[in-house]
């Protein structure tokens, strides 16, 4: 198979995903409204007008609304990753998945292209959110916005892989509500997205410990450090490792010979 074929296939998948995103205006608005509600309403109540104590990468005191932004960026990507898994379940139910998987190109490539496409969509959402945060007057180092790109791409891949893995496990669309309760909420709340880990520790050392086992914490910290032009090596390593594992499992999950799809088909039959 020539490189041109790979490229054509990749572009086709990306185009389809972008087209879906553009057509689903409600999804785009929801993707922006969700973090904005947190930023404007939640952060206003928790403003900590007297400043959040210094913890890296911050070198001085910050307002809570500044602390929460990397977590909200992570939230955008988390929801996008899950929504993309939802659309995979949808595609499977409607049969368009089969059209995709009959392509002569290797399955891992098709899945990776699908992941890259959904990550791209999440990155568009993140930058739109940052634009609105800037317009609202949140004082962030916007000059470093482009430095976020590698971290956003990696986070998008990790959360997308997780979504992909989940979609290989979910039988029906209705089960997605479960994903919401058992995946999105615990991942988001039990991380450093909303409060620094030391703050969680003050309330419950056990929860703080759990948060350090949550890969989403590392993705958020990776984004937070990138925003200040720094690399948090530990966070990047954990995110990379978790991405590799989730991706491998997802590809395995979509393997008709060995994965969940095969098992599912057997049970359905």
């Amino acid at each position: 198979m020539s490189a041109a074929a790979y490229l054509r296939c990749f572009l086709g998948i990306v185009y389809r995903e972008l087209l879906r995103f553009v057509h689903q205006r409600g999804r785009f608005i929801a993707a922006l409204v969700r973090p904005l509600v947190w930023l404007i309403v939640f952060a206003a109540g928790f403003r900590m007008a007297l400043g959040v104590a210094i913890s890296p990468p911050y070198k001085t005191y910050i307002l809570y609304e500044i602390y929460i932004v990397p977590g909200l960026i992570g939230m955008i990507q988390l929801f996008n990753g899950m929504q993309s898994s939802l659309s995979m379940v949808y595609d499977r139910e409607l049969g368009s998945m089969r059209v995709l998987l009959v392509s002569p190109l290797p399955r891992w490539f098709l899945l990776l292209s699908r992941l890259a496409a959904s990550t791209l969509v999440s990155i568009v959402q993140v930058y739109a959110f940052l634009f609105l945060a800037w317009a609202y007057g949140i004082r962030l180092p916007y000059g470093n916005a482009l430095l976020l790109l590698p971290a956003l791409f990696l986070t998008g891949l990790m959360l997308g892989s997780m979504g992909l893995l989940l979609s290989s496990l979910i039988k029906q669309l209705e089960n997605f509500a479960g994903v919401m309760n058992f995946v999105i909420f615990p991942m988001f709340f039990l991380s450093s997205a909303l409060y620094p880990i030391w703050r969680i520790k003050e309330g419950s050392p056990l929860l703080a410990q759990l948060a350090t086992f949550n890969p989403f914490t590392y993705a958020v910290e990776m984004i937070r450090f990138s925003f200040y032009g720094q690399v948090n090596v530990h966070a990047v390593a954990v995110t990379l490792g978790v991405t590799a594992i989730l991706l491998a499992l997802a590809i395995l999950g979509y393997n008709p010979a060995r994965g969940m799809m095969a098992r599912k088909r057997t049970t359905e039959a």
Binding site: R47, A49, L50, G51, A53, I54, K59, T60, Y61, I62, L63, R139
Partner: protein
């Protein structure tokens, strides 16, 4: 070959010179009220490079007119320490009268004006002769002291009397009094000497006093969004020499107000550490250093963007700050 050797030597020479002469050779001295020390921060690395032991309860500091010595008022030891700026050694200790809080140096004479909080007087000492020049009775609980750029006027604020007392330095007595808002803390003259800005801690205002008429020409109020009124307490004041910007430390609101010196309008509030007390601009007036008493650190603000850059941990309860080139 000879040319190459010459170029290499020149390059190495330039490199050595660049390493030996840092861009700012500034030192920032910070008095730590509860540690009985003065922290020395390097202006380039923004790290504490030395800690000097001084008399107990050090608060205000001032520089000698030749900029060779730093004076530190030690409240509980009734002393003013004289520290060599180059070596950080204590040169001598001068007797100050009871509970010295704020000190200022006369720009024309080797005199230090000291507010003696417990005795309701301003003591004047000669730091060269090590003698007491005079004592000037003022109101109750004297605190802030400001001196006009020409040295003609010393203004002293008294916390309980709520007044700014103007001392004529030729006669060494109070000739004018101006009533200001509750608990006046600090007095700072405009660099052209036309105004003196007096901050009131409980009143949470800055009274701008006209030096021709000795009356308040404007009162600046502060309202920090999201912070209770009680937390806003005006303390330290710093005025830029170009007559454009003023900075007011707002105590437990953890904010420094940026004020337009010409229109008296508050332009911005900058978040710093807890209970910000005093302020100092660096010599280029590009950075502002703030002492944050409760959090025990010094925040550095970029004056062009009004963005806080970094907070440097110092000792317990940092009170005063002074920048020396």
């Amino acid at each position: 070959m000879a040319y190459r050797l010459k170029t290499a030597t020149a390059l190495i020479g330039a490199l050595v010179l660049a390493m030996a002469v840092p861009a700012h050779a500034e030192k920032i001295f910070v008095s730590n009220e509860q540690d009985n020390t003065v922290s020395v921060i390097d202006g380039d690395s923004l790290e504490v490079v030395d800690t000097i032991n001084v008399s107990r309860r050090p608060r205000a500091m001032a520089l000698s007119n030749d900029k060779k010595y730093l004076f530190v008022a030690g409240g509980d030891d009734e002393a003013v320490d004289m520290i060599d700026i180059a070596t950080h050694e204590l040169v001598q200790t001068l007797s100050s009268g009871p509970d010295p809080e704020v000190i200022r140096v006369d720009p024309n004479r080797p005199y230090i004006y000291i507010s003696n909080e417990d005795d309701n007087i301003v003591t004047v000492i000669d730091y060269e002769k090590r003698t007491r020049v005079t004592e000037i009775p003022v109101g109750v609980e004297p605190e802030g002291i400001g001196i006009s750029p020409d040295g003609r006027w010393v203004v002293n604020t008294t916390e309980t009397t709520n007044m700014a007392h103007f001392i004529d330095t030729e006669e060494m007595r109070v000739t004018q009094n101006v009533l200001v808002d509750a608990r006046p803390r600090h007095a700072e003259f405009k660099h052209d000497g036309s105004e003196v800005w007096v901050s009131s801690e409980i009143g949470a205002t800055v009274s701008v006093i006209d030096m021709d008429k000795f009356e308040i020409k404007h009162t600046i109020n502060f309202d920090v969004p999201g912070v209770t009124r009680e937390s806003v307490q005006a303390v330290g004041v710093e005025l830029s020499s170009d007559g454009k910007r003023a900075y007011v430390a707002l105590g437990p609101s953890n904010r420094v107000a940026v004020v337009d010196q010409e229109t008296y309008e508050v332009l911005d509030y900058v978040l710093v550490g807890q209970r910000v007390w005093h302020l100092a601009l660096d010599t280029a007036e590009k950075r502002l250093f703030t002492t944050n008493g409760v959090s025990g650190d010094v925040t550095v603000i970029d004056v062009e963007t009004n963005e806080p850059q970094v907070s440097i941990p110092v000792g317990r309860f940092p009170w005063g700050v002074i920048v020396v080139e």
